[in-house]
Symmetry: C2
Subunit: 260 residues, 2 copies
Protein backbone atom coordinates (compact mmCIF):
# COMPACT_ATOMS: atom_id res chain seq x y z
CA UNK A 1 0.00 0.00 0.00
CA UNK A 2 1.33 3.44 -0.90
CA UNK A 3 2.30 5.51 2.09
CA UNK A 4 0.25 8.59 2.92
CA UNK A 5 1.93 11.96 2.36
CA UNK A 6 3.30 13.98 5.29
CA UNK A 7 4.79 17.47 4.89
CA UNK A 8 7.41 18.67 7.38
CA UNK A 9 8.09 22.39 7.21
CA UNK A 10 10.94 24.21 8.95
CA UNK A 11 10.87 27.99 9.32
CA UNK A 12 13.77 30.09 10.46
CA UNK A 13 14.26 33.08 12.69
CA UNK A 14 13.63 35.74 10.05
CA UNK A 15 10.03 34.65 9.60
CA UNK A 16 9.44 34.36 13.34
CA UNK A 17 10.85 37.83 14.04
CA UNK A 18 8.48 39.55 11.62
CA UNK A 19 4.87 39.50 12.83
CA UNK A 20 3.41 40.06 9.35
CA UNK A 21 5.71 37.53 7.67
CA UNK A 22 4.82 34.96 10.32
CA UNK A 23 1.07 35.49 9.88
CA UNK A 24 1.37 35.20 6.10
CA UNK A 25 3.43 32.04 6.46
CA UNK A 26 0.97 30.48 8.93
CA UNK A 27 -1.87 31.16 6.50
CA UNK A 28 0.06 29.37 3.75
CA UNK A 29 0.85 26.54 6.16
CA UNK A 30 -2.80 26.20 7.17
CA UNK A 31 -3.71 25.80 3.49
CA UNK A 32 -1.14 23.06 2.90
CA UNK A 33 -3.12 19.91 2.17
CA UNK A 34 -2.74 16.68 4.07
CA UNK A 35 -0.93 15.78 7.27
CA UNK A 36 1.83 18.14 8.33
CA UNK A 37 4.34 19.10 11.01
CA UNK A 38 5.91 22.50 11.66
CA UNK A 39 9.41 23.00 13.10
CA UNK A 40 10.62 26.41 14.24
CA UNK A 41 13.68 28.05 15.72
CA UNK A 42 13.66 31.40 17.47
CA UNK A 43 17.28 32.26 18.08
CA UNK A 44 17.01 35.97 17.39
CA UNK A 45 14.16 36.41 19.85
CA UNK A 46 16.10 34.39 22.43
CA UNK A 47 19.17 36.59 21.97
CA UNK A 48 17.01 39.68 22.42
CA UNK A 49 15.34 38.48 25.63
CA UNK A 50 18.59 37.07 27.03
CA UNK A 51 20.14 40.50 26.54
CA UNK A 52 17.23 42.16 28.39
CA UNK A 53 17.81 39.70 31.25
CA UNK A 54 21.51 40.57 31.31
CA UNK A 55 22.60 37.19 29.90
CA UNK A 56 25.28 37.38 27.25
CA UNK A 57 24.82 35.27 24.09
CA UNK A 58 28.00 33.49 23.06
CA UNK A 59 28.04 32.12 19.52
CA UNK A 60 30.83 30.08 17.92
CA UNK A 61 30.45 29.52 14.14
CA UNK A 62 26.78 30.45 14.42
CA UNK A 63 26.17 27.89 17.18
CA UNK A 64 25.00 29.09 20.57
CA UNK A 65 26.95 28.17 23.71
CA UNK A 66 24.15 27.10 26.04
CA UNK A 67 24.94 27.54 29.72
CA UNK A 68 22.26 27.00 32.40
CA UNK A 69 20.95 30.58 32.21
CA UNK A 70 20.82 30.49 28.41
CA UNK A 71 18.95 27.17 28.49
CA UNK A 72 16.33 28.82 30.74
CA UNK A 73 15.89 31.62 28.20
CA UNK A 74 15.65 29.13 25.33
CA UNK A 75 13.08 27.06 27.20
CA UNK A 76 11.04 30.22 27.83
CA UNK A 77 11.33 31.66 24.34
CA UNK A 78 11.26 28.60 22.07
CA UNK A 79 9.03 26.35 24.20
CA UNK A 80 6.74 29.09 25.53
CA UNK A 81 6.59 32.43 23.78
CA UNK A 82 7.20 31.42 20.15
CA UNK A 83 5.70 27.94 20.21
CA UNK A 84 2.46 28.74 22.04
CA UNK A 85 1.78 31.85 19.99
CA UNK A 86 2.18 29.83 16.79
CA UNK A 87 -0.15 27.16 18.19
CA UNK A 88 -2.78 29.77 19.09
CA UNK A 89 -2.53 31.42 15.64
CA UNK A 90 -2.87 28.05 13.89
CA UNK A 91 -5.90 27.19 16.04
CA UNK A 92 -7.38 30.50 14.90
CA UNK A 93 -6.81 29.34 11.30
CA UNK A 94 -8.63 26.06 11.92
CA UNK A 95 -5.52 23.86 12.31
CA UNK A 96 -5.64 21.57 15.35
CA UNK A 97 -2.07 22.34 16.42
CA UNK A 98 -0.18 20.95 19.41
CA UNK A 99 3.12 22.47 20.53
CA UNK A 100 5.94 20.13 21.48
CA UNK A 101 9.52 19.90 22.64
CA UNK A 102 11.41 16.64 22.28
CA UNK A 103 10.61 15.98 25.96
CA UNK A 104 6.86 15.88 25.32
CA UNK A 105 5.77 12.26 24.75
CA UNK A 106 9.53 11.56 24.65
CA UNK A 107 9.32 12.49 20.98
CA UNK A 108 13.03 13.31 20.46
CA UNK A 109 15.73 11.92 22.73
CA UNK A 110 19.20 13.43 22.56
CA UNK A 111 22.66 12.92 24.00
CA UNK A 112 24.53 15.88 25.44
CA UNK A 113 27.12 16.95 22.89
CA UNK A 114 30.52 15.66 24.03
CA UNK A 115 33.13 18.30 24.86
CA UNK A 116 35.98 18.30 22.33
CA UNK A 117 37.57 21.63 21.44
CA UNK A 118 34.47 23.56 22.49
CA UNK A 119 32.06 22.98 25.37
CA UNK A 120 28.68 23.84 23.86
CA UNK A 121 26.96 23.32 27.23
CA UNK A 122 23.37 22.07 27.25
CA UNK A 123 23.25 21.20 23.57
CA UNK A 124 21.79 17.89 22.45
CA UNK A 125 22.62 15.73 19.43
CA UNK A 126 19.54 13.78 18.35
CA UNK A 127 19.77 10.11 19.23
CA UNK A 128 16.24 8.85 18.51
CA UNK A 129 12.99 10.15 17.06
CA UNK A 130 10.05 8.30 18.56
CA UNK A 131 8.02 8.13 15.34
CA UNK A 132 5.36 5.86 16.81
CA UNK A 133 4.57 8.28 19.64
CA UNK A 134 4.49 11.24 17.23
CA UNK A 135 2.22 9.27 14.92
CA UNK A 136 -0.32 8.88 17.73
CA UNK A 137 -0.78 12.65 17.45
CA UNK A 138 -0.54 12.87 13.65
CA UNK A 139 -3.01 10.03 13.10
CA UNK A 140 -5.41 11.66 15.59
CA UNK A 141 -5.45 14.62 13.12
CA UNK A 142 -3.37 16.88 15.35
CA UNK A 143 -0.66 19.03 13.75
CA UNK A 144 2.56 18.95 15.83
CA UNK A 145 4.53 22.18 16.13
CA UNK A 146 8.08 21.42 17.29
CA UNK A 147 10.49 23.92 18.78
CA UNK A 148 14.25 23.42 18.88
CA UNK A 149 14.45 21.68 22.26
CA UNK A 150 15.10 18.01 23.04
CA UNK A 151 15.84 16.03 26.24
CA UNK A 152 17.88 13.12 27.57
CA UNK A 153 14.97 11.19 29.17
CA UNK A 154 16.69 11.77 32.53
CA UNK A 155 15.12 15.16 33.27
CA UNK A 156 17.49 17.41 31.31
CA UNK A 157 16.37 19.64 28.44
CA UNK A 158 18.77 20.50 25.58
CA UNK A 159 19.04 23.24 22.99
CA UNK A 160 19.09 21.49 19.59
CA UNK A 161 19.53 22.81 16.05
CA UNK A 162 16.12 23.25 14.39
CA UNK A 163 17.37 22.19 10.92
CA UNK A 164 18.58 18.94 12.45
CA UNK A 165 15.29 18.40 14.28
CA UNK A 166 13.41 18.84 11.00
CA UNK A 167 15.60 16.36 9.10
CA UNK A 168 15.60 13.80 11.93
CA UNK A 169 11.79 14.05 12.23
CA UNK A 170 11.57 13.59 8.43
CA UNK A 171 13.80 10.50 8.57
CA UNK A 172 11.93 8.97 11.51
CA UNK A 173 8.49 9.54 10.02
CA UNK A 174 9.59 8.20 6.62
CA UNK A 175 9.09 4.76 8.19
CA UNK A 176 5.35 5.52 8.22
CA UNK A 177 4.79 8.26 5.62
CA UNK A 178 5.88 9.53 2.22
CA UNK A 179 7.68 12.56 3.68
CA UNK A 180 8.34 15.84 1.88
CA UNK A 181 10.65 18.19 3.79
CA UNK A 182 10.51 21.98 3.27
CA UNK A 183 13.25 24.33 4.47
CA UNK A 184 11.99 27.91 4.41
CA UNK A 185 14.51 30.71 4.76
CA UNK A 186 15.20 34.23 3.51
CA UNK A 187 16.46 33.24 0.02
CA UNK A 188 14.44 31.87 -2.90
CA UNK A 189 16.43 28.63 -2.90
CA UNK A 190 19.98 27.32 -3.18
CA UNK A 191 21.96 29.88 -5.18
CA UNK A 192 24.68 29.26 -7.80
CA UNK A 193 26.10 32.64 -6.84
CA UNK A 194 25.61 33.80 -3.25
CA UNK A 195 25.34 37.46 -4.36
CA UNK A 196 22.72 36.83 -7.04
CA UNK A 197 19.27 36.15 -5.58
CA UNK A 198 17.99 35.09 -9.00
CA UNK A 199 20.58 32.34 -9.47
CA UNK A 200 18.34 29.71 -7.91
CA UNK A 201 19.21 26.10 -8.74
CA UNK A 202 15.87 24.49 -9.71
CA UNK A 203 16.78 20.82 -9.34
CA UNK A 204 19.85 19.23 -7.83
CA UNK A 205 20.52 15.50 -7.50
CA UNK A 206 23.25 14.17 -5.24
CA UNK A 207 25.75 13.79 -8.11
CA UNK A 208 25.34 17.43 -9.16
CA UNK A 209 25.58 18.45 -5.51
CA UNK A 210 28.95 16.70 -5.12
CA UNK A 211 30.29 18.35 -8.27
CA UNK A 212 29.17 21.86 -7.29
CA UNK A 213 30.44 21.32 -3.76
CA UNK A 214 33.85 20.30 -5.09
CA UNK A 215 33.81 23.43 -7.25
CA UNK A 216 33.35 25.52 -4.09
CA UNK A 217 29.93 26.88 -5.09
CA UNK A 218 28.35 26.64 -1.63
CA UNK A 219 29.31 28.96 1.20
CA UNK A 220 29.81 27.98 4.83
CA UNK A 221 26.25 28.71 5.96
CA UNK A 222 24.66 26.63 3.19
CA UNK A 223 26.91 23.56 3.32
CA UNK A 224 25.72 22.04 6.62
CA UNK A 225 22.09 22.62 5.54
CA UNK A 226 22.68 20.73 2.29
CA UNK A 227 24.60 17.93 4.02
CA UNK A 228 21.60 17.59 6.35
CA UNK A 229 19.23 17.44 3.37
CA UNK A 230 21.11 14.75 1.40
CA UNK A 231 21.54 12.71 4.56
CA UNK A 232 17.73 12.87 5.00
CA UNK A 233 17.19 11.79 1.38
CA UNK A 234 19.58 8.87 1.80
CA UNK A 235 17.68 7.83 4.94
CA UNK A 236 14.31 7.62 3.22
CA UNK A 237 12.88 11.14 2.88
CA UNK A 238 11.20 11.49 -0.54
CA UNK A 239 11.93 15.07 -1.54
CA UNK A 240 13.49 18.17 0.01
CA UNK A 241 12.42 21.66 -1.07
CA UNK A 242 14.38 24.79 -0.18
CA UNK A 243 12.97 28.26 -0.71
CA UNK A 244 11.32 31.27 0.84
CA UNK A 245 8.31 30.73 3.12
CA UNK A 246 5.78 30.88 0.28
CA UNK A 247 7.38 27.79 -1.34
CA UNK A 248 4.85 25.64 0.51
CA UNK A 249 1.89 27.17 -1.32
CA UNK A 250 3.12 28.66 -4.58
CA UNK A 251 4.73 26.21 -6.97
CA UNK A 252 5.00 28.86 -9.71
CA UNK A 253 7.84 30.65 -8.01
CA UNK A 254 11.53 29.78 -7.91
CA UNK A 255 12.74 27.24 -5.39
CA UNK A 256 15.19 24.34 -5.20
CA UNK A 257 14.20 20.67 -5.25
CA UNK A 258 16.78 18.21 -3.93
CA UNK A 259 16.70 14.48 -4.69
CA UNK A 260 19.08 11.55 -4.74
CA UNK B 1 -20.00 -0.04 33.04
CA UNK B 2 -18.13 1.68 35.86
CA UNK B 3 -16.01 4.59 34.74
CA UNK B 4 -12.25 4.31 34.96
CA UNK B 5 -10.53 6.49 37.59
CA UNK B 6 -8.70 9.69 36.59
CA UNK B 7 -6.76 11.83 39.07
CA UNK B 8 -6.36 15.55 38.41
CA UNK B 9 -3.74 17.20 40.61
CA UNK B 10 -3.18 20.94 40.94
CA UNK B 11 0.04 22.29 42.47
CA UNK B 12 0.61 25.87 43.46
CA UNK B 13 3.45 28.32 43.25
CA UNK B 14 5.13 27.37 46.54
CA UNK B 15 5.91 23.87 45.27
CA UNK B 16 7.12 25.15 41.89
CA UNK B 17 9.42 27.75 43.46
CA UNK B 18 11.28 25.21 45.58
CA UNK B 19 13.42 22.85 43.47
CA UNK B 20 13.57 20.14 46.15
CA UNK B 21 9.86 20.37 46.96
CA UNK B 22 9.02 20.13 43.26
CA UNK B 23 11.20 17.05 42.75
CA UNK B 24 9.68 15.34 45.78
CA UNK B 25 6.19 16.16 44.56
CA UNK B 26 6.92 14.88 41.04
CA UNK B 27 8.16 11.61 42.50
CA UNK B 28 4.91 11.24 44.45
CA UNK B 29 2.95 12.16 41.32
CA UNK B 30 4.81 9.60 39.23
CA UNK B 31 3.85 6.92 41.76
CA UNK B 32 0.16 7.83 41.68
CA UNK B 33 -1.60 4.86 40.12
CA UNK B 34 -3.82 5.07 37.06
CA UNK B 35 -4.51 7.81 34.57
CA UNK B 36 -3.68 11.33 35.70
CA UNK B 37 -3.37 14.98 34.75
CA UNK B 38 -1.20 17.66 36.37
CA UNK B 39 -2.13 21.36 36.50
CA UNK B 40 0.37 24.00 37.61
CA UNK B 41 0.59 27.73 38.14
CA UNK B 42 3.85 29.64 38.34
CA UNK B 43 2.89 33.17 39.35
CA UNK B 44 5.82 33.80 41.67
CA UNK B 45 8.36 32.85 39.02
CA UNK B 46 6.51 35.03 36.49
CA UNK B 47 6.61 37.99 38.88
CA UNK B 48 10.34 37.46 39.39
CA UNK B 49 11.16 37.30 35.66
CA UNK B 50 8.81 40.18 34.81
CA UNK B 51 10.65 42.28 37.35
CA UNK B 52 14.02 41.36 35.78
CA UNK B 53 12.60 42.45 32.41
CA UNK B 54 11.45 45.74 33.91
CA UNK B 55 7.76 44.85 33.72
CA UNK B 56 5.76 45.80 36.78
CA UNK B 57 3.34 43.18 38.19
CA UNK B 58 -0.02 44.69 39.12
CA UNK B 59 -2.22 42.53 41.34
CA UNK B 60 -5.76 43.34 42.48
CA UNK B 61 -7.18 41.03 45.18
CA UNK B 62 -4.48 38.48 44.32
CA UNK B 63 -5.41 38.52 40.62
CA UNK B 64 -2.81 39.62 38.08
CA UNK B 65 -3.60 42.43 35.66
CA UNK B 66 -2.36 40.95 32.37
CA UNK B 67 -1.30 43.56 29.82
CA UNK B 68 0.42 42.52 26.56
CA UNK B 69 3.93 42.52 28.09
CA UNK B 70 2.77 40.53 31.11
CA UNK B 71 1.06 37.98 28.84
CA UNK B 72 4.39 37.49 27.03
CA UNK B 73 6.12 36.79 30.34
CA UNK B 74 3.37 34.40 31.40
CA UNK B 75 3.55 32.57 28.08
CA UNK B 76 7.32 32.23 28.50
CA UNK B 77 7.30 31.23 32.14
CA UNK B 78 4.16 29.07 32.47
CA UNK B 79 4.13 27.57 28.96
CA UNK B 80 7.89 27.26 28.52
CA UNK B 81 10.14 27.36 31.56
CA UNK B 82 7.92 25.76 34.21
CA UNK B 83 5.88 23.45 31.99
CA UNK B 84 8.71 21.97 29.91
CA UNK B 85 10.96 21.42 32.92
CA UNK B 86 8.15 19.52 34.66
CA UNK B 87 7.59 17.47 31.50
CA UNK B 88 11.30 16.62 31.25
CA UNK B 89 11.47 15.65 34.96
CA UNK B 90 8.38 13.44 34.62
CA UNK B 91 9.87 11.76 31.54
CA UNK B 92 12.95 11.06 33.67
CA UNK B 93 10.66 9.39 36.21
CA UNK B 94 9.09 7.17 33.53
CA UNK B 95 5.87 9.18 33.06
CA UNK B 96 5.00 9.83 29.41
CA UNK B 97 4.14 13.49 29.99
CA UNK B 98 2.94 16.04 27.44
CA UNK B 99 2.85 19.75 28.26
CA UNK B 100 -0.19 21.76 27.19
CA UNK B 101 -1.82 25.14 27.21
CA UNK B 102 -5.51 25.44 26.47
CA UNK B 103 -4.54 26.39 22.90
CA UNK B 104 -2.93 23.01 22.24
CA UNK B 105 -5.48 20.69 20.58
CA UNK B 106 -7.96 23.47 21.47
CA UNK B 107 -8.21 21.79 24.86
CA UNK B 108 -9.57 24.78 26.80
CA UNK B 109 -11.37 27.64 25.08
CA UNK B 110 -11.96 30.86 27.01
CA UNK B 111 -13.69 34.19 26.63
CA UNK B 112 -11.80 37.36 27.47
CA UNK B 113 -13.01 38.56 30.86
CA UNK B 114 -15.44 41.45 30.33
CA UNK B 115 -14.37 44.81 31.73
CA UNK B 116 -16.57 45.88 34.66
CA UNK B 117 -14.94 47.83 37.50
CA UNK B 118 -11.51 46.44 36.64
CA UNK B 119 -9.87 45.70 33.28
CA UNK B 120 -7.94 42.50 33.92
CA UNK B 121 -6.47 42.62 30.41
CA UNK B 122 -5.66 39.31 28.68
CA UNK B 123 -7.41 37.12 31.22
CA UNK B 124 -9.70 34.33 30.08
CA UNK B 125 -12.75 32.83 31.73
CA UNK B 126 -13.13 29.18 30.73
CA UNK B 127 -15.94 28.61 28.27
CA UNK B 128 -15.39 25.00 27.18
CA UNK B 129 -13.14 22.07 28.02
CA UNK B 130 -12.69 19.83 24.98
CA UNK B 131 -12.80 16.56 26.93
CA UNK B 132 -12.83 14.38 23.81
CA UNK B 133 -9.61 15.92 22.44
CA UNK B 134 -7.91 15.63 25.84
CA UNK B 135 -9.06 12.03 26.08
CA UNK B 136 -7.24 11.21 22.83
CA UNK B 137 -4.05 11.92 24.78
CA UNK B 138 -5.13 10.32 28.06
CA UNK B 139 -6.35 7.13 26.37
CA UNK B 140 -3.06 6.95 24.43
CA UNK B 141 -1.39 6.65 27.88
CA UNK B 142 0.05 10.16 27.80
CA UNK B 143 -0.06 12.26 30.98
CA UNK B 144 -1.13 15.85 30.20
CA UNK B 145 0.58 18.65 32.15
CA UNK B 146 -1.47 21.84 31.89
CA UNK B 147 -0.23 25.33 32.63
CA UNK B 148 -2.50 28.26 33.44
CA UNK B 149 -2.98 29.52 29.87
CA UNK B 150 -6.04 29.24 27.63
CA UNK B 151 -7.06 30.77 24.27
CA UNK B 152 -10.04 32.16 22.37
CA UNK B 153 -9.65 29.96 19.23
CA UNK B 154 -9.04 33.18 17.29
CA UNK B 155 -5.28 33.37 17.88
CA UNK B 156 -5.24 35.05 21.30
CA UNK B 157 -3.74 33.45 24.42
CA UNK B 158 -5.12 34.27 27.88
CA UNK B 159 -3.82 34.09 31.43
CA UNK B 160 -6.29 31.90 33.36
CA UNK B 161 -6.49 30.95 37.03
CA UNK B 162 -4.93 27.51 37.58
CA UNK B 163 -7.46 26.49 40.27
CA UNK B 164 -10.24 27.16 37.78
CA UNK B 165 -8.47 25.23 35.03
CA UNK B 166 -8.16 22.23 37.36
CA UNK B 167 -11.84 22.28 38.34
CA UNK B 168 -13.05 22.85 34.76
CA UNK B 169 -10.86 19.98 33.51
CA UNK B 170 -12.25 17.80 36.31
CA UNK B 171 -15.82 18.68 35.36
CA UNK B 172 -15.23 18.12 31.64
CA UNK B 173 -13.49 14.79 32.11
CA UNK B 174 -16.15 13.57 34.56
CA UNK B 175 -18.20 12.83 31.44
CA UNK B 176 -15.69 10.06 30.66
CA UNK B 177 -13.98 9.20 33.95
CA UNK B 178 -14.54 8.83 37.69
CA UNK B 179 -12.55 11.99 38.52
CA UNK B 180 -10.76 12.69 41.81
CA UNK B 181 -9.46 16.25 42.10
CA UNK B 182 -6.50 17.11 44.34
CA UNK B 183 -5.60 20.67 45.33
CA UNK B 184 -2.09 20.76 46.78
CA UNK B 185 -0.99 23.88 48.61
CA UNK B 186 1.11 24.95 51.60
CA UNK B 187 -1.39 23.96 54.34
CA UNK B 188 -2.36 20.44 55.42
CA UNK B 189 -5.96 21.02 54.43
CA UNK B 190 -8.90 23.33 55.08
CA UNK B 191 -8.45 24.76 58.58
CA UNK B 192 -11.12 25.48 61.23
CA UNK B 193 -8.80 28.19 62.52
CA UNK B 194 -6.53 29.91 60.05
CA UNK B 195 -3.78 30.34 62.67
CA UNK B 196 -3.77 26.69 63.76
CA UNK B 197 -2.14 24.41 61.19
CA UNK B 198 -3.39 21.34 63.08
CA UNK B 199 -7.06 22.33 62.89
CA UNK B 200 -7.58 20.44 59.62
CA UNK B 201 -11.21 19.57 58.79
CA UNK B 202 -11.10 15.88 57.78
CA UNK B 203 -14.41 15.62 55.93
CA UNK B 204 -16.80 18.33 54.85
CA UNK B 205 -20.03 17.83 52.95
CA UNK B 206 -21.80 20.73 51.27
CA UNK B 207 -24.24 21.21 54.16
CA UNK B 208 -21.43 21.54 56.71
CA UNK B 209 -19.63 23.84 54.31
CA UNK B 210 -22.60 26.21 54.13
CA UNK B 211 -22.91 26.26 57.94
CA UNK B 212 -19.22 26.98 58.51
CA UNK B 213 -19.23 29.57 55.75
CA UNK B 214 -22.19 31.33 57.38
CA UNK B 215 -20.28 31.24 60.68
CA UNK B 216 -17.40 33.09 58.96
CA UNK B 217 -14.88 30.28 59.44
CA UNK B 218 -13.23 30.65 56.01
CA UNK B 219 -10.97 33.56 55.13
CA UNK B 220 -10.92 35.43 51.84
CA UNK B 221 -8.19 33.32 50.18
CA UNK B 222 -9.91 30.01 50.94
CA UNK B 223 -13.49 30.92 50.02
CA UNK B 224 -13.10 31.08 46.21
CA UNK B 225 -11.14 27.80 46.28
CA UNK B 226 -13.95 26.09 48.18
CA UNK B 227 -16.66 27.59 45.96
CA UNK B 228 -14.71 26.19 43.00
CA UNK B 229 -14.55 22.76 44.64
CA UNK B 230 -18.25 22.44 45.49
CA UNK B 231 -19.15 23.69 42.03
CA UNK B 232 -16.97 20.87 40.60
CA UNK B 233 -18.67 18.31 42.88
CA UNK B 234 -22.11 19.51 41.80
CA UNK B 235 -21.04 19.18 38.16
CA UNK B 236 -20.02 15.53 38.46
CA UNK B 237 -16.56 15.35 40.03
CA UNK B 238 -16.47 12.43 42.49
CA UNK B 239 -14.24 13.69 45.29
CA UNK B 240 -12.05 16.70 46.02
CA UNK B 241 -9.03 16.41 48.31
CA UNK B 242 -7.21 19.44 49.70
CA UNK B 243 -3.86 19.16 51.43
CA UNK B 244 -0.12 19.56 51.15
CA UNK B 245 1.64 18.05 48.12
CA UNK B 246 2.19 14.65 49.74
CA UNK B 247 -1.60 14.16 50.03
CA UNK B 248 -1.50 12.34 46.70
CA UNK B 249 0.66 9.53 48.05
CA UNK B 250 0.23 9.41 51.83
CA UNK B 251 -3.27 8.75 53.06
CA UNK B 252 -2.12 8.47 56.69
CA UNK B 253 -1.57 12.19 57.02
CA UNK B 254 -4.09 14.96 57.62
CA UNK B 255 -5.99 16.35 54.68
CA UNK B 256 -9.50 17.50 53.82
CA UNK B 257 -11.99 15.50 51.77
CA UNK B 258 -14.89 17.43 50.23
CA UNK B 259 -18.08 15.79 48.99
CA UNK B 260 -21.67 16.76 48.31
Amino acid sequence: MAKEKLSIVKIGGNVIENKQALETFLEHFSNLEGRKILVHGGGKRATHIASKLGIESNMIDGRRITDADTLEVITMVYGGLVNKNIVAKLQGLGIDAIGLTGADINSIKSDKRPVKDIDFGFVGDVEKVNHNAINKLVSADFTPVFCAITHDKKGQLFNTNADTIASELAIGLSKLYHVELFYCFEKNGVLMSVDDDDSVIDFMDSGTYQELKNDGVFHDGMLPKLENCYYALEEGVSRVFIGNPSVISNKDQKFTTLYL
